[in-house]
Chain length 345, copies 2
Amino acid sequence: MEKLPTIKEIAKQLKVSVSTVSRALSDHPRIGLGTKLKVQQLAKEMGYEPNAQAIFFKQKKTYVIGVVIPYIREEFFSQAISGIESAAMEHQYTILFGQSYDDPEREKAVVEAMKKQRVDGLIISLSKQTNRYDHLEALNKFEIPVVYFDRVPPFKEAHKVFCNLYKGTVDMVGWLFNKGYRRIAFINGPDKLNASKERMNGYIEGISKQKLKVDMQMVEKTDLSKESTHNAMKKLLALKHPPTAIITFNDYVHMDAVQYAQKQNILVNKDIVFVSYANLPITSYTAFPPLVSVEQYPYGQGERAMELMIKILSEKTDNKITNTSFYVEELPATLVAYQQATAGG
Amino acid sequence: MEKLPTIKEIAKQLKVSVSTVSRALSDHPRIGLGTKLKVQQLAKEMGYEPNAQAIFFKQKKTYVIGVVIPYIREEFFSQAISGIESAAMEHQYTILFGQSYDDPEREKAVVEAMKKQRVDGLIISLSKQTNRYDHLEALNKFEIPVVYFDRVPPFKEAHKVFCNLYKGTVDMVGWLFNKGYRRIAFINGPDKLNASKERMNGYIEGISKQKLKVDMQMVEKTDLSKESTHNAMKKLLALKHPPTAIITFNDYVHMDAVQYAQKQNILVNKDIVFVSYANLPITSYTAFPPLVSVEQYPYGQGERAMELMIKILSEKTDNKITNTSFYVEELPATLVAYQQATAGG
DNA sequence: TTGTAGGCGTTATCAT
DNA sequence: ATGATAACGCCTACAA
C-alpha cells in the first residue's frame, strides 16, 4: 500500500528540484526538453496525479460544482444531471451531488455540506417546500455563486435557467382548441411553485385567447402525490359536464391521472384526451402517452446552467467589476408530439 | 466582498498566537477560560468559519466518495445513487458523481478526475465494455479503496456488493413451470457481463430442475438496444413452436420486447407471458408490467456499498493490519410481483 | 535552465 | 497556559 506520489517523490528519484518537476509537468517554457520528457515519463509510470486539494490552497479553486436536486429518480432530474455533468466534464469540472427529497431541512444540510467542501459554485433546483433562502444567500459570504434551474426562486436577484411555460401552455390550449376540444380541464401543481403560476397564467390566457370562458370548476390542483391526483380526477369526472381534454402538470401526474381514468373505464385519449408537460422518454413505454407535451429540455437546462456557472466563474477570475447583475436564461418551452424512448438497458 | 477571516487574523487582533486561537476554538483543555471566551467571541463577530479544505488537506482526508455508474437516467442506477447518498449523508460524507456512459475510455477519464480530487474511496458499477481494470487497481494500490456494486468484476480480489441472480433465475423458471408454462424462452444480455452468465446458468439449472430439456433455440441475446431486442423477439416468434413465456434480461428489454409483441398483435401476458428482472417502479405505469420480477434492490445495493466503504475506511484509519482480504456481500435476489410506483412528481 | 524559499490555513509537537 | 515552528503538496517570484 503506497501513497500517491507527489512531485517531491519524483524530484527525489530524478535528483532534481521540485520546481523543475512542477514546471516540467505544466509545460512551462523555461525547461529543458530532456528534463521535461524524463519527468513526464516517470510521472506517468508512478501514476502521478496532481493533488487538487493542494492546488486549492494556491488558487482557492476546487474545480468542483455542487449540484442539488429534489429527486434523482425522477427522469427529468436525472437527465438534467446528465447535461450538467456533460458540460462540467468538458471544462474539467467535477460535480458534487446531493438530493433534497423536497425537504427544506435536508436541502439546507446538503448545501451546508457543499459549502464546507468549498465548491466553486452551486447549481440547484429548489425543493417544493423551500420558501426561505438564507442557506443559499449564506453562500454569498463565501463568494460561491448559485445558479438555479427549473425550480427557480421568485425573486429577481438570482442567476436562473428555466423554460417559459407560460407560452408553452398557451400553445397547448390552442392546439386542443384547433382539434375541436372545448371543455379543457387543467390539473395544476402546488400554488407556491413558480411553475404552477406560470402554467395557470398560460392556461387562462390560452382559454381567453380562444374566446372561451375560464371555468374554475375545470381547474384542479394536486400536491403531486398519486392520491391527490386521483382525487382531482374524481372531482373533474363528477362534473355535470366533465372535460373532454385534460392538461396535467407533468408526466407523472399524467400517468396517475390516466391510471385513475382507466379504473373508471374511461377510454383514454378517446373519451377524454390527455396532454402534459415534460415529455419524458418513459411515457413512450406507457399504454397512453400524452398526445402532445410541452417539452422542458431537462438535459438542455442542465447544460445551460453549467455553462452559465462556468461563465460566471471565469468572470470572477478575470476580476471584472464585482458583478451585481444576474443572468436569466429563458429557454423556449415547445410543443411536441411524444418522443420515442431511447433508454437502452 | 471581503475574504473570510482566518485564525491568523483573529490571532493578530487579539495579539495572541495562532495556536492559542486554534486551541480556543477547538475547546482544547489546556487553555485559559478568559482567553477562550475572548477568542470565541471575536471569532463569532468576525464571522469566522473554519476552512474545511485546509483541514482536509492536512488530514489527508476529503470526506468525499467518488461514485461512477453507467447511466444515471436508468432508474436502477438513480435508485442506487439514492441509497449511496443516503448512507453517505449519515456519515458526513459527500459524493462526487460521474457517468461512464458504458464507455471504458470515459470511465477511465472519470476515475482519473476522482483520483485527482483525492476521493477517500470509489464506488463503481462497471461499464458494459470494461474488460481492463488497471485504472481501478491503480486506486487500490494508492490506498483508495474501491467498492464495486451490481456490475462487478470477475476476479476475487475486490470488494463487491451484488445480487445473486442465479438463484433468482432458478426461482423464476420454477414459478413459470408451476403456472403451467413449458416453452420458456430467455432473452439474455451481452455474454461478457457477469450478470448475463449468472442468469444463463440459473436458466439452465431452472429448466433442468423441472426435468425439461434446454432448447437453445429458446435462448436469444440482445445488446440491450431496442433494435437488438426486437430482433431477438422476431426470431423467437418465428420458431415452429414459439414460446409461451419469455424471460427478459431487465425491465427495459422487457418493455422493448412487449412493444414488439404488440406490433405483432400478440396478446401480451395472455398469448405469451413476460417476466423480468429489476422491478423498476416505472413498469407499473406501463400497459403490461412483467407478471413477476427478480428484484435486485438497487437502493439496498447502493446503501450497502456505501456502508461497506465506510467500514473499510474506518478500518484503515484505525490502522488495523494492512488488510489483504476483500469483502463480498451477496444480497438475495427475490421473486416479487410487480410493485406500485411511488414517483411523486 | 534549474534551484531555493515562502506561503496558502490548520493542527500537532515541541518548547517556554 | 501560551508561543514558535514544522508539516501537508503545490506553485511561483526570485536567485543563481
